[in-house]
Symmetry: C2
């Protein structure tokens, strides 16, 4: 399919064009940046909300996602799901969850499901997920559920593209304590204890609430992966302790919700909590902040990608590496010496 | 500690300097490339072998690693362990395993253990692990065990820095089938069925052997993450089917070993198999090939890192992004337009 055909198809809201556009973006085929530029111009017109759903394998995220689809459909919302499994083929999460949900939802044009596998390097997965979400949002889907397996840094980077992040935990597995140790739980906007009918649910809730109490008591919050910066958030950011000058601002206390996804219990409450979180993001100005931050990150990543491609395809970098390899093998030069040589050439404009 | 002090300390084989050097490399502090260049020049003199140990959480890798340390120490080898957990804080692998082994081995100067956490982006973890292994090898450790949790792409990228990769699986978990599906098992040189006294061990062995049979029947093998290239390996690579001109070359049939790490069963056999694999790598010329490939990869990565740093620290890229952000927010430009603008400036030598 020619790129113009894909763009026309997207404009006509042709599902085949959507699938094709996503493949082009996922595999960075020729013209994918035109699709992304097109999607970017359409994003302002859409009301898509991005909801990240993350948690360890076995937490029931796939079932919960399926229940969320049903609940959102009952409200008349179109729903897209992007299922990402960056961790390991052992979890089987994305593919299996995808297949199950495909079966139950495939006849509904208001539902779109796509799973993304880890291909090649993991590094760009968060960016690609974000970009696929852009395409889906530009197509007109109103809610985009981004489901990731695991709660490592990669998953958090992926979830960071969402406006609301839901961390799904289950009793019994000691998840709470582990997550506390890792500092990972900091990142979520909503907490869900799934399989809440099991023993240990109360204990897990206590652990989460203790963690949230600690977090409230601490005015510093990690806000992004770039350079590990921390900044003060909340109404009194930048104010001294006795100066009460800032107007009161809405605050967000992350709720701890209980669900039994298999039975559908607690799902409507989760939908309502997501609605409240969105209202908070709008009222507090955070929605705009998050969008701004996302676009800066996106632009930086696009620059790095473009520069990388340029270096390998249009400069003499590969030739220099080949010419120096014997020296490097014989330890007469190091890879770092060669990198410096190449950078010097690039810097002074010596390209082929 | 000043960088010269660290380099002198490494030359004197001071353990404190080693720890410091690794920290500098891990965190890419000023001067870390000098340490790496120094390490690179020493690598030719050392006989360090790098052994990757990978597998899903719960496979008993930490215990197996501890047993391997003991066995290698009995042979008089100095051993370093680099434990990496790229997947998730939920596995707890690296930290816990580290602590346990620290206790049992910390008084032995012939053993060095270091765990590496995922900090910030996962993208560079494989490279950093490789570089830390260089420093440890240059210091004189003869065997370097690189233990990773999980068998996703990141773990395979990390394992790729090793000369011999051991995939540890356990019965009961259905690992074999999952790995078959994912094509992940292709990458290992040795297979270990740990907890081999459990039921299901025979079935897992059959699954692995079926997979290996399929692999033997298939002359194409995936050889690297770069651009997903595939190439023909083995003596007849490039030869036509009826031209028998190449001399016979040693081949490697990946063994499927059984261990019970907790009891120490099968560990000596694993050590012997690793020895055979090393002999094969030397005899077949693969050791040189792998080293060559690793150094090309390393140099490419060093170039990308140097270029990235240059773009953000010495060009006007950040200023351009800031100047265009309002346009991007208002969808008058896309992040990709801005990336193109910045690349054009870099390309034509417009730097500040």
């Amino acid at each position: 399919m020619h790129i113009e055909t894909v763009l026309n198809g997207l404009e006509r809201r042709d599902p085949a064009a959507l699938a094709r556009a996503i493949s082009l973006v996922e595999n960075q085929r020729d013209g994918f940046e035109r699709i992304l530029s097109y999607a970017h111009t359409r994003l302002g017109e859409t009301a898509a909300r991005r909801i990240g759903i993350t948690g360890p394998p076995g937490a029931g995220k796939s079932t919960l996602t399926e229940r969320l689809i049903q609940a959102l459909r009952r409200e008349g919302r179109s729903v897209a799901v992007i299922a990402v499994d960056p961790t390991s083929p052992y979890t089987g999460g994305a593919l299996l969850g995808d297949r199950i949900r495909m079966e139950s939802a495939s006849t509904d044009p208001g539902v779109f499901i796509r799973s993304m596998a880890t291909r090649g390097s993991v590094g760009g997965l968060a960016m690609t997920t974000d970009e696929v979400a852009d395409v889906v949002a530009a197509f007109g889907f109103e809610r985009i559920l981004i489901e990731t397996v695991g709660v490592g840094q990669t998953e958090l980077d992926i979830a960071r593209g969402a406006e609301s992040t839901v961390l799904v935990l289950v009793p019994e597995s000691g998840d709470g304590i582990q997550a506390l140790k890792a500092g990972v739980m900091e990142a979520a906007d909503l907490y869900v204890i799934n399989k809440a009918d099991r023993s240990g649910a109360d204990r897990l809730r206590q652990e989460i609430e203790i963690m949230l109490g600690i977090r409230r008591g601490n005015a510093f919050r990690h806000v992004g992966p770039h350079h590990g910066t921390r900044r003060r958030v909340g109404p009194r950011a930048g104010a001294t302790d006795d100066a009460v000058t800032a107007p009161p601002q809405p605050t967000w206390e992350p709720p701890v919700l209980a669900t039994v996804a298999t039975a559908g219990t607690g799902v409507d409450e989760l939908v309502a909590a997501l609605e409240r979180h969105h209202a908070f993001l709008v009222a507090s100005g955070r929605l705009g902040e998050r969008r701004r931050r996302r676009l800066v990150d996106r632009t930086r990543a696009a620059v790095e990608r473009a520069v990388r491609r340029w270096v390998w395809e249009e400069t003499r970098a590969e030739e220099v590496i080949a010419a120096r390899l014997d020296d490097v093998m014989a330890a007469r030069r190091s890879p770092y010496d060669v990198a410096t040589e190449i950078l010097d050439q690039i810097r002074t404009g010596v390209t082929r």
